[in-house]
Symmetry: D3
Subunit: 329 residues, 6 copies
Amino acid sequence: MARMTNSAGAQDPHLWQPRFSGIRTFARFPYSRRLDGVDIAIVGIPFDTGVTYRPGARFGPAAVREHSSRIEQYHPVLGLDVLAELSVVDYGDLPVVAGYTEQSFQLIEDGLRVLIEAGVIPIGLGGDHSISLPELRAVAQRYGPVALVHFDSHVDTWDTIWGTKYNHGTPFRRAVEEGLVDPGCSIQIGIRGSLGGPGEFEQSRELGFEVWTAREVRRAGLAEVREAIHRRVGASPVFLSFDIDFLDPAFAPGTGTPEVGGFATWEAQELLWGLVGLDIVAADLVEVLPDRDPMDVTALNAANLVFDMVAVIAATRRERRYGAVNGAQ
Amino acid sequence: MARMTNSAGAQDPHLWQPRFSGIRTFARFPYSRRLDGVDIAIVGIPFDTGVTYRPGARFGPAAVREHSSRIEQYHPVLGLDVLAELSVVDYGDLPVVAGYTEQSFQLIEDGLRVLIEAGVIPIGLGGDHSISLPELRAVAQRYGPVALVHFDSHVDTWDTIWGTKYNHGTPFRRAVEEGLVDPGCSIQIGIRGSLGGPGEFEQSRELGFEVWTAREVRRAGLAEVREAIHRRVGASPVFLSFDIDFLDPAFAPGTGTPEVGGFATWEAQELLWGLVGLDIVAADLVEVLPDRDPMDVTALNAANLVFDMVAVIAATRRERRYGAVNGAQ
Amino acid sequence: MARMTNSAGAQDPHLWQPRFSGIRTFARFPYSRRLDGVDIAIVGIPFDTGVTYRPGARFGPAAVREHSSRIEQYHPVLGLDVLAELSVVDYGDLPVVAGYTEQSFQLIEDGLRVLIEAGVIPIGLGGDHSISLPELRAVAQRYGPVALVHFDSHVDTWDTIWGTKYNHGTPFRRAVEEGLVDPGCSIQIGIRGSLGGPGEFEQSRELGFEVWTAREVRRAGLAEVREAIHRRVGASPVFLSFDIDFLDPAFAPGTGTPEVGGFATWEAQELLWGLVGLDIVAADLVEVLPDRDPMDVTALNAANLVFDMVAVIAATRRERRYGAVNGAQ
Amino acid sequence: MARMTNSAGAQDPHLWQPRFSGIRTFARFPYSRRLDGVDIAIVGIPFDTGVTYRPGARFGPAAVREHSSRIEQYHPVLGLDVLAELSVVDYGDLPVVAGYTEQSFQLIEDGLRVLIEAGVIPIGLGGDHSISLPELRAVAQRYGPVALVHFDSHVDTWDTIWGTKYNHGTPFRRAVEEGLVDPGCSIQIGIRGSLGGPGEFEQSRELGFEVWTAREVRRAGLAEVREAIHRRVGASPVFLSFDIDFLDPAFAPGTGTPEVGGFATWEAQELLWGLVGLDIVAADLVEVLPDRDPMDVTALNAANLVFDMVAVIAATRRERRYGAVNGAQ
Amino acid sequence: MARMTNSAGAQDPHLWQPRFSGIRTFARFPYSRRLDGVDIAIVGIPFDTGVTYRPGARFGPAAVREHSSRIEQYHPVLGLDVLAELSVVDYGDLPVVAGYTEQSFQLIEDGLRVLIEAGVIPIGLGGDHSISLPELRAVAQRYGPVALVHFDSHVDTWDTIWGTKYNHGTPFRRAVEEGLVDPGCSIQIGIRGSLGGPGEFEQSRELGFEVWTAREVRRAGLAEVREAIHRRVGASPVFLSFDIDFLDPAFAPGTGTPEVGGFATWEAQELLWGLVGLDIVAADLVEVLPDRDPMDVTALNAANLVFDMVAVIAATRRERRYGAVNGAQ
Amino acid sequence: MARMTNSAGAQDPHLWQPRFSGIRTFARFPYSRRLDGVDIAIVGIPFDTGVTYRPGARFGPAAVREHSSRIEQYHPVLGLDVLAELSVVDYGDLPVVAGYTEQSFQLIEDGLRVLIEAGVIPIGLGGDHSISLPELRAVAQRYGPVALVHFDSHVDTWDTIWGTKYNHGTPFRRAVEEGLVDPGCSIQIGIRGSLGGPGEFEQSRELGFEVWTAREVRRAGLAEVREAIHRRVGASPVFLSFDIDFLDPAFAPGTGTPEVGGFATWEAQELLWGLVGLDIVAADLVEVLPDRDPMDVTALNAANLVFDMVAVIAATRRERRYGAVNGAQ
């Protein structure tokens, strides 16, 4: 069953708003373009021109919002009310020009820079994975090269595809080339699927990333992977990027380039909950493709994973204030 | 193809907002709870406890909003820019208490009364057809008994179902009993489907309504039906109620009690366009059930029919100002 | 909205059974294997081994039953309560051996013969169209060669397909060869779609059938087709066979060999309602394929068309008792 | 592949009934309203007015029946033929009044009491989880306060939602208040998902229930949970309640308030199989929502879990007769 | 039912290939990259970067091929075996660079030029409507400015969208500007839907096109529109462009920018069949979006409309050889 | 994201073919009917008349091809480029006669014998599981009785169903009776689901097969099962048969007789990868039913499992040439 919005028990029915009603914002957080006092902004980036296979992720933000409506503010695993720790808003969507990648990258970078300069942690709702490049451009302007914590079935470090340099297969090579990401404190987790050749398998390691294939994750166990992330990242500012195809297609059919043999949602959550303590300065969740998601499970998972990100940031902040408490250990 | 939002050609990309992006309001009309200067308010009424068969229409407002996003302000058949004639807002949803009909009816009536007292014409997005009763209660407080122009496959004038008086099969009998509707200037159009007995067939006529079955509409032709509506209604204030199951299930599968042998969307539109000149004081479009609408065609049709209602009201207002112009004749 | 089951207004709630509840029989007619006093028996024939393209119609009977649940006993167009005129039961399904055509044909013929010998008019729910052959074998044993009134997009009079004589493309050629159908008083309506050659176009006419293509139906108009059927059939005993692919794929996507450019449900209904007066001794409705019917519109149409068949038989019986009354003229 | 109905090898094809054919009852158990000699009755309770989010579970019983058709009588894990141990029937559906909760609760309680007074163990097919309250009222009349074994992602022990006391979020608080359930020997398993606040997390424990979150189940392991259930319940009469949203949305998308991070079906089965030995006096499986279940996997899982419940009751009975045998240890 | 492939009745089963089997080419026409002796080539153009709303039409060619498999070579309305008149092949797909419009336009133009220089009539399977521009560039190189016969719900003559000149809203303005199309002998049919302003309504007429709105088509009747096309086009070489959103969303849900109030498939076919006699030198059918087409009706319609185009070209050729024969008059 | 076809970086765009484009062959391996030099041929066997429940697997080959398009040639777990080791082609589909089992079995056996006599390893794409019998007939002619490695939820060793000997529940009993399979070195893995009686549970063991139920697999662990296979099979020539219903319905909803409580794809892959070293002489993957697979996850899984089979055969060949290398241990 779903729960009432106002657990404090407002007596006036006009203050109640059932979870199935109302204009859709992420988790019913307030829609705001004002940024003063805001800690985290959920921001849609409806750009999917960067895909090399199945497009449609431009509708990802709308679907994630729609299926976030039952999310409430208390995270029982991390043991906190995120709205008691942080101010979180839905900032709406950034402008893009569908079909025009470089023009859109500029708009995304410009749009995100406003948030970052205001000291807000943006969580981008993709859109395809190419958006991480302009996001990182905005991030690096303030933070310098950041650590990348990257959940995905693909490394996304190709050089070119069909001779073009900007698409959803190349953002993290570009980010290294442009000095936006420090591969030496970065990590990619969940990699799997057939390839064009062994070179593709090694290209991320050659760039300097630590790479965990899906099989390596299973063999080592989730706890070991959580430790590996902390070891790798340390105190660096972190860009957290979650491609929904990290999940198995049974859990995330609604994505453009699904890879079989992936992870259950609870495994992804265990890994995310383990990120408490990292200095996350920006994040995104990408590649949700609603037209392939007839049961909306992909969008539902995505919405909850974004909420987990919010809670991890809140728990980290609480930890810094009060020292570690008994969260998801 | 879809069209840009700002036909005037804004140069600043930040002013563009592609139709696939942004927080969803109806047709991207502004969300507003302020009513001063507002002519028409689109208002969701996510109540479906009144259904006797398949529930789920509480998600109707969200789906209609989502699939209204490509609607623009110029109506080429009626030849007008609705926003040049009228101020139209999306008012969000009224509060309801799912599972509790009478309590919800009170909330709906109270919510709608605020709009009507402000001189706003509300267009309710259902929700099931039982909501027409509390809507009419609010309407009649200001306008007295109104003319009902009712498109539906069912007459909705049963007395009780399973011994209960308030559900989506009874609103218009209740409305007559409560003096909210004047059946003598009211009309029901599109009726069809099997019944429990001949009494059910005649019950609306006995209450005083003019009734056109689907077969009678086809035999007479759309032009004759348009004339019949005007003849019947005259100058009375009108409550316009459109049950999406007026359409054939091929055009509106997403509804709770579909009846085969119905109408194509273009036929519904021809009839709606013919309402220019009526004094519509309130309207609703009900029984959109998104979970039965995998291709979203029902919601798309509903959104366009609501826009047609807005345009008809705008054209009527223009006609009153400037005399009849060449609209949809 | 849906209507209550007991329009007479039973006071005991235990006598009410909402249309969404209970074990599914066709239109909630009683399930019975007893035949004394029964006029019409709805009988499932879940056989689809005869298909040459997409199988799955073995699940047709279950889907048609499920989506017949809102049908009630009064037919407003023909103006009668079918249960006041006739005793109608759901007889369940005949046994078949999936994958074994000739063995199944024997079981179907044997099963149907029991009904026909008991004086019952069977209405078969297919299954694929090959079942019409064993049905006709049972029918002709009692009635001799019958008139075929056949709604379909295909003539189903091929000689062999892949060298085999028994499948859903051949039943009516076999029926003529076996002397089960008198083509001279038979008619096929709605034919369309590409062919292997001109010979396939003429094969039915060469066998002696009157054939109306979809285009000819549209050019002549429905009233003319109704007259043509009566002219052709006269007083002969009639086997009425309705292939759901007579309807356009927008109205009946759930079928194995859909042909574009077909008819709306209301057109099919107008034609069926025109059959009052014919001496229908058996009927079937075939080729409903639920796995291609995500919105259940095909099954809903099929259920209503079967109810129309029941009502036509009832109206004919009433007409014979009391003379013609004002039904669907 | 599916298996023949009559493994004993009946020679008469008329005794065969393929699993895809025939009127749908649960697992093709006989439909019966007579209760003499009946041990277990599967009974549909198509009530969903109690939902706070997405309705439609009133169609749960029909969907579960449809997708139970391939279930046969021998349970290989528990090693028994359930029909050799027990008499099991499908009792059809209880009457309800859609939209009217308290009236329906009375009908459900009255309907179930008939079964319980006859010494039958009812297994209710929901419907939403609010039905557990009237079920428990009927159960407690005979057995006094019972132990609740409750699989769910939600505790369902809220006090009020939108000011109302009777809905699918409150049944087990009401049951404690009314003395129907003894929380001291009751247990809730699988709890997860965001909340309105920490109070909601603790409310069940404050009422006296033992609560296992999803995370605690995973950390302890299934065997430990099985032991915990037996420790908690002991020899008390048990009401077993399984909300299908215990399963992960990938396994049960068709439910009204899905929570990500749930369990695989095989995990649920391992837990259910471990219940052999408990004194189950009534059970239900709730919240199956067919309109969100395009592949019917939810209904298929639900049908099999209900069969597992039947087999557990049969195995317990056998164990009491013959002592423990080598079942699912 | 479906028909056998080899109506001539080959005896060797190895020569039979059921319509559900084999590698998919359009209508099972041979796949060929050789062009000598070829009259018509079906050619996929899987480009959808030009869309302004919902992408995915890059999968259109695959879906149209899949659902063309039951099409056979004899067209009964036009009365000819297309393969007896013409040599038709499936040429596969042209290369494109997803996400890069101008680079793709060059590849499309280059690819099509090969066909046109070889004297082949190409029928392009889109892809979005922007592909008509590079197609026309290739066409005009050989034929000079051509007549456009354009079925669509949109005029596709915008100047820029979001400041960009090349997308699916602009191809025919560009084509006029580049001298590829002679608007004075061109015609657009089926236009409807809301607009940004009255200027958008008139922009095509200002460019010189004859425009028929959907409403004007209905008021004049199909026969009048057929005549208007012939009057307008005369003996000019024709580029025939069919946007599947000409059809109503009930008939073509699987498209990116559906407009309600459109046409049934049979109406589209009547119009296409009326084109016999025109000098069609190239054609396309665009905007089929399989991810929005769960019942595949859109793809099925598209495949049949392409076959109708092939048959019209064949019938025109026959007419030129033998004079007019009794085709679809 | 998806990857480019030509990782070597061809400069000519005409050599690129995006994964979403082109005529569909399995994994875009070349279509070929020539067999010289071919090591492995993927061959569709679109026969589903053998099913006892839900048909439609005749469309399995087309769906698996469609969703294999993103598979590339390098297998990172086994560490090899399959096309560097082997020549693999798509051979198209074998002829069958839908509805006629024995005639089809002959065609399948004849068709497969051509491949086997040419020294090719065929991997059959079903189609239902009955096809394994004619496949084994062809295999045994060359290799004598083979070892069966069989992944399935059903043993498929029934004697007769509805009195018939040839269907998808009987192939492996028939194969033992005909001396095609040596049960003493054969193994069945994944068995689960309800049965008609205990005899059905033991029938495979009585025939001599080693049988692992799903529960036994889970209790022993995947590594132990891998060892058990090698122990059982040794150096025998192997027929590898994978029924997609080995997977849980959440991972493979698109199949005719799904059984709950099954395996995740990654578990199936771990088991398949463990087969390196076996002498696989033929294989099949059966029971993919696209009409029950709205998200195409079943077909995607099937395509990848077939690719895993190819890679296992390649790795075995490499191992024989060079000795064991560090593949998937």
